[in-house]
């Protein structure tokens, strides 16, 4: 009985952290603070929910699987957050947003760039 209450408490906590993370995503002004809010709160929320689920199911192998899931989620989200932050700061100014093609590559230089990789690719 105690385990069920503990599991329920963990899951509620996890849900709370998820909603806080989402709130952070909506409210924070710039990219870095949003990333900060998202990765920290959501990962903690995920960990709590997985812990609650493992407690609820009460099976060690499932708990191990949940832990593995959590580690992969942590690796994935932290790496991507880091990459987004790095790209955002280095290139916020000089690189116009990718979707705005700015001036389309004129066919002339398109040809030039086309020539460049070919010979090297053949060798």
């Amino acid at each position: 009985m105690i385990l069920d209450i503990a599991a329920a408490a963990l899951m509620l906590g996890g849900a709370f952290f998820f909603s806080v993370g989402t709130l952070g995503l909506i409210r924070f002004p710039d990219v870095r603070s949003r990333l900060h809010g998202l990765t920290k709160a959501d990962n903690l929320g995920l960990g709590l929910i997985l812990g609650g689920a493992a407690l609820w199911l009460g099976d060690w192998s499932v708990a191990g699987l949940m832990l593995l899931c959590w580690l992969f989620a942590l690796a994935g989200s932290s790496a991507s957050a880091h990459v987004i932050a790095a790209l955002e700061t280095d290139h916020a100014e000089q690189r116009e947003p990718v979707h705005h093609a700015g001036e389309p590559p004129t066919p002339a230089d398109d040809a030039a760039t086309a020539q460049v990789p070919d010979p090297e690719q053949e060798s």
Partner: protein, 101 residues
């Protein structure tokens, strides 16, 4: 064993998705919106098939195999549609640059 009213609920959801996707596909003009509407219709039809599979006690393997086949076909036509949209919009960005074949 999934209860009968759950199955009819998901059949209703799949019907709404199919019709919503079809109507949206026929009415909207933006290319990516049409591609996503096509995909939503595909997911709706597959949802109906899986709901039918859930009727037999351990959900029916043949219908599940059909849905997996349907999923891979959905990726195929979405990939082809995406590349075609990319080429058309590349053309529009250039204002139809390059000699038109």
């Amino acid at each position: 064993m999934v209860s009968v009213d759950t199955i009819s609920w998901y059949l209703l959801v799949s019907t709404v998705m199919i019709i919503f996707g079809t109507v949206r596909l026929l009415l909207v003009r933006d290319l990516l919106a049409r591609l996503i509407a096509l995909d939503v219709t595909g997911i709706g039809v597959l949802l109906a098939l899986v709901a039918l599979a859930a009727r037999s006690e351990s959900s029916d393997p043949v219908l599940q195999a059909l849905v997996i086949t349907g999923l891979v076909i959905a990726v195929a036509f979405t990939g082809l549609g995406a590349v075609l949209i990319r080429r058309i919009e590349g053309l529009r960005e250039d204002g139809g640059g390059g000699d038109r074949s």
